[in-house]
Amino acid sequence: MHYYKPASFAEAVALAAGAEGITRILAGGTDVLVQMRADIVTPDTLIDIKAIPGTHEIARTAEGGWRIGVAVTGAEMSEHPELGRDWPGVVEAMDLIGSTQVQGRATPIGNLCNASPAADSVPAMIAAGAVLNVIGPDGSRDIPAEEVPAGPGKTTLKKGEIATALTLPPRGQNGGDAYQRFIPRTEMDIAVVGCALNLTVEGDQITSARMALGAVAPTALLIPAVTEVLVGKTLDDDALAALAALAEANCNPIDDKRGTVKFRTHVAGVLARRVAQIAYDRAKGAKA
Amino acid sequence: MVEVRLWSGLRPLVEGRDSVAVEGRTVGQILTALRRDYPALGPTLDAGVSVAVDGKMIASSLTEPVGEDSEVVLMARLKGG
């Protein structure tokens, strides 16, 4: 295995484009090292992007959103004084991953690009409308978060393309997001089901909604039909029931050691109701 | 003679009896006598047994004394974790 620590994205892209065999990008390493350890993947080329300037920054965008550098960790997101006020659901989702120790290394972009169907931060990013900024031999492009995973362990990034940052849109007024997952213990498990919801309201009425589900399909799912179920309504019992039914109807999970199809489908509905209530309260001004 | 009670899984080996009488003043002598007088019990005894004498469970010592009136119960070999 060859280890490189490029000083610029241009250098990193050249390395990745020219490398033979298996190439992995090293940011937090919490997936790459586990895969190496378990003999699932031992890369031929490992490109550590943490020495590239700007990769550790969390910065406001000109539009009022946020740009999260590719090496920013979960702990840095949680500690940021403003990010969590705008996007509490995204920050909480990231914070749920692994232990305090893992938070010190794991990055949301790594979580997205590892393309696990159960990645906790990904449904929250999708619901928030996050975009992945990538650079490659053919220049830069932006990919909506929901289009990054192509299946378990696979992404839509092309050979030589490297993520540089994640951009979250401006929060705007009267908005709120939330993410919850179900795990058997209180910590340290992989999500059996995850659900994120991002809402805006005017008074009691919902004006926009984005929902995403995790661990119920080969990739995290954006559920566009949520607008039909919630927009123009208040979050009453009927709306919650319809939302739960929508979440359940969109599940396409597998039976595995972590959960059954039946259980995952049922819990997706439960979580949809729970996150909707939190996101709604936040949109109406409750503090995260 | 000392009356030795057997667990019921062993009874088919001694014509259905739930206890047998053997000579012996120690656990070791009793086990020797059982092996001699009831050869069918041999494999079980070889695999290892414990013996309770008056409620005291003897895991392995052969030197524990046994009285004429002692309650002697053969037990599956005790193990621990």
């Binding site: 620590k5 232990s99 305090t100 120790q101 | -």
Partner: protein, 159 residues
């Protein structure tokens, strides 16, 4: 395979080593630097026995490569005591019997110290969640949580 030269600081001392890029920081600490205080319980970031700090940040040393230590400052259990003076957590762990076998203790001490530096007055729930990545199979965590809470109280009084 060629080895990489790395210069880093461990518990305040500058050290240099050569390592294969596949070696983890934990491998390096234990096998190249002779610092066996950090333990390997799982190698996959699930048990916390290998906890160290890197530039003050709590991490699993099994989830970081040795080559990534270049230019960093590493803190391990061997560096918690100042000379013969134990850290208050170390004293309390002995006093409370917050360890039985002791294999998880180095990682838990590093993690608890990192918590108290960040949050000098944690609630029981905060302590439990902060330490959720440090598995202990002997104690049921009871005496560990009590020792951390009491250390925090004592350190608050002292400061």
């Amino acid at each position: 395979m060629s080895k990489t030269h790395v210069t880093t600081k461990v518990n305040g001392d500058e050290v240099e080593f050569l390592c294969d890029p596949r070696e983890t920081l934990l491998d390096v600490l234990r096998d190249r630097l002779g610092l066996t205080g950090a333990k390997e319980g799982c190698g996959t970031g699930d048990c916390g026995a290998c906890s160290v700090t890197v530039d003050g940040r709590l991490v699993c040393s099994c989830l970081m490569l040795g080559v990534e230590a270049e230019g960093k400052e590493i803190g391990t259990v061997e560096g918690i005591a100042q000379g013969e003076t134990l850290h208050p957590l170390q004293k309390k762990f002995i006093e409370y019997a917050a360890l039985q076998c002791g294999i998880c203790t180095p990682g838990i001490l590093i993690a608890a110290k990192s918590l108290l530096e960040k949050n000098p007055a944690p609630t029981e729930t905060e302590v439990r969640y902060w330490l959720a990545g440090n598995l202990c199979r002997c104690t049921g965590y009871d005496k560990i949580i009590r020792a951390v809470m009491d250390t925090a109280a004592e350190m608050r009084e002292a400061s």
